[in-house]
């Protein structure tokens, strides 16, 4: 048997003895080594049976006194370790800043606080302007001013246009809106029901037969842009600018086309059209309603003007770099 293995067996037997097992039980576990194990375990049992020596009380006291006397002599020689000074707990950044502010003179303190307030305010202003909320507010304000300006330009027929309602909505989807693109601003006019029955085109995919059923008809100006925001570069005049003007009602059209674009003017009523198109646009003018159209389109926009509503005179002075107007 390997001696190392026997060491382990002996140790296991001693552990069993510590747990209170009898010698016979322990030897029964290792019957092959019982002969060798027995004398060693007997010696171990004899050693454990030895009484613990107990020191005298006097000796204990004398020993302690000697120890304390030695300590006193060492303290006199300053031989002990000097205790490390206890550090106060570290103060935080806020505490340090507050302490620094207290140490400053009042003028400097005020200047510091003002600087902090200005920086904080600037940060919040920048954050607000970067967010979409600020855009909405600014755009709404701009539209409001624009529409107020339009109201003053209506002229003598403004009493008819007073029935028109202007509604801007970016937050609430329109119930029957065909071009209900999220985030897109809708510009629509709801008109008197009798006007729609006369010849208004249905918006979107609605069939013409269903138009007369509703009391009010909505004319949506889809993708209406107001000179800022998306696709602002279209106002350069290089794009194809298309005007669709279905003039069929004896009106006068003034179209100043000077830019080589294609104009489709289905003027069926012997009217006078003045089309000064000077920007390379394409104009489709199906004017069938006897109105007079003055369209001075000089900004490269696309105009779809399906004017069928019996208005006498419409002025579209679109010079502000908008992208596309659909006036249904």
């Amino acid at each position: 048997m390997m001696p190392r293995r026997f060491d382990r067996i002996l140790d296991d037997c001693l552990l069993r003895m510590d747990r209170g097992e009898s010698l016979m039980d322990i030897l029964a576990v290792y019957p092959a080594q019982a002969e060798k194990l027995k004398p060693l375990l007997l010696v171990a049992m004899l050693s454990r049976a030895l009484p613990q020596p107990v020191p005298g009380y006097t000796a204990l006291r004398v020993g302690k006194n000697q120890l304390l006397a030695e300590m006193a002599s060492m303290q006199a020689e300053d031989s002990f370790i000097k205790p490390k000074p206890v550090r106060p707990p570290r103060e935080g950044i806020v505490d340090r800043l507050a302490r620094s502010l207290k140490q400053l003179q009042p003028a400097y303190r005020f200047a510091m606080l003002s600087l902090v307030v200005i920086l904080t305010g600037g940060f919040f202003t920048l954050s607000a302007s970067a967010s979409g909320l600020a855009d909405n507010i600014m755009q709404t304000l701009y539209f409001s001013f624009d529409q107020v300006g339009e109201l003053f330009q209506l002229g003598p027929d403004s009493d008819k246009s007073m029935g028109e309602g202007i509604l801007f909505s970016s937050d609430y989807p329109l119930p029957d809106s065909p071009g209900n693109f999220p985030g897109d601003y809708k510009y629509f006019l709801f008109e008197e029901s009798e006007k729609n029955e006369e010849g208004a085109q249905p918006p979107g995919n609605e069939e013409p037969g269903n138009q007369g059923e509703s009391d009010k008809k909505f004319n949506y100006g889809e993708n209406t842009s107001y000179g800022f925001g998306e696709d602002e570069g279209q106002g350069s005049g290089q794009e194809q600018n298309q005007d669709n003007d279905n003039n069929s009602d004896g009106e006068k059209d003034n179209d100043n086309n000077k830019d080589g674009e294609k104009d489709n003017d289905n003027n069926n009523d012997g009217e006078k059209d003045n089309d000064n198109n000077s920007d390379g646009e394409k104009d489709n003018d199906n004017n069938k309603d006897g109105e007079k159209d003055n369209d001075n389109n000089s900004d490269g926009e696309k105009d779809n003007d399906n004017n069928k509503d019996g208005d006498k005179k419409e002025k579209d002075n679109n010079k502000d770099g908008d992208k596309k107007d659909k006036d249904k």
């Binding site: 190392r4 060491d7 060693l40 000796a59 300590m71 370790i81």
Partner: protein, 174 residues
């Protein structure tokens, strides 16, 4: 070494009397038992025990527990002390100072034989017999005290028991 003992040692190192007293009370019996079975004399063991703690307090500022535990360091001091003074003293072997000396004569005779036998062992074997069987320490405790591996302790206790058995047989034959 637990955190309380570390704190206690640090306080004693800085000259705290109360901490030094606590260390003395905690380890005196272990050192005394070890010395008693090393020198086989109660009075000498008491004298040596006091001397061990005086040496402890002198060397305590230099003690670091990175390499050795405190109890092991204390046993080293006791062993060095015995080695130093071995030539100087004449042990009065197995006097009647051990508790149980008033027991039966048979038991006295067994104790005397055992102490005579243990005196024939070398220092390592004596230490193992005292720590493992007299003090009743486990092998893991001995690993900490002696800074030896568990396997070495198992082998050492095997040889110590074998030597003690031979010594006992010799003493009984005498």
């Amino acid at each position: 070494m637990d955190i309380n003992e570390k704190a206690l040692l640090y306080r004693a190192q800085t000259g705290d009397r109360r901490a030094a007293e606590t260390l003395y009370e905690r380890y005196y019996l272990d050192i005394y038992t070890y010395l008693f079975y090393r020198v086989s004399d109660k009075t000498t063991a008491e004298k040596f025990s006091a001397e061990v703690f005086v040496r402890m307090i002198r060397r305590l500022p230099q003690f670091t527990d990175t390499k050795i535990t405190f109890i092991s360091w204390l046993y080293d001091i006791a062993r060095d002390l015995v080695d130093e003074k071995q030539q100087a003293y004449q042990p009065e072997l197995f006097d009647e100072t051990i508790q149980g000396s008033n027991q039966e004569s048979q038991s006295k005779s067994a104790n005397r034989s055992f102490k005579l036998a243990i005196s024939h062992l070398n220092d390592q074997q004596k230490s193992i017999i005292v720590h493992r069987f007299v003090e009743g320490r486990s092998v893991k405790d001995l690993v900490k005290i002696t800074n030896k591996s568990e396997r070495a302790i198992q082998s050492l206790q095997h040889h110590a028991l074998k030597s003690l058995k031979i010594a006992l047989e010799r003493e009984e034959s005498i």
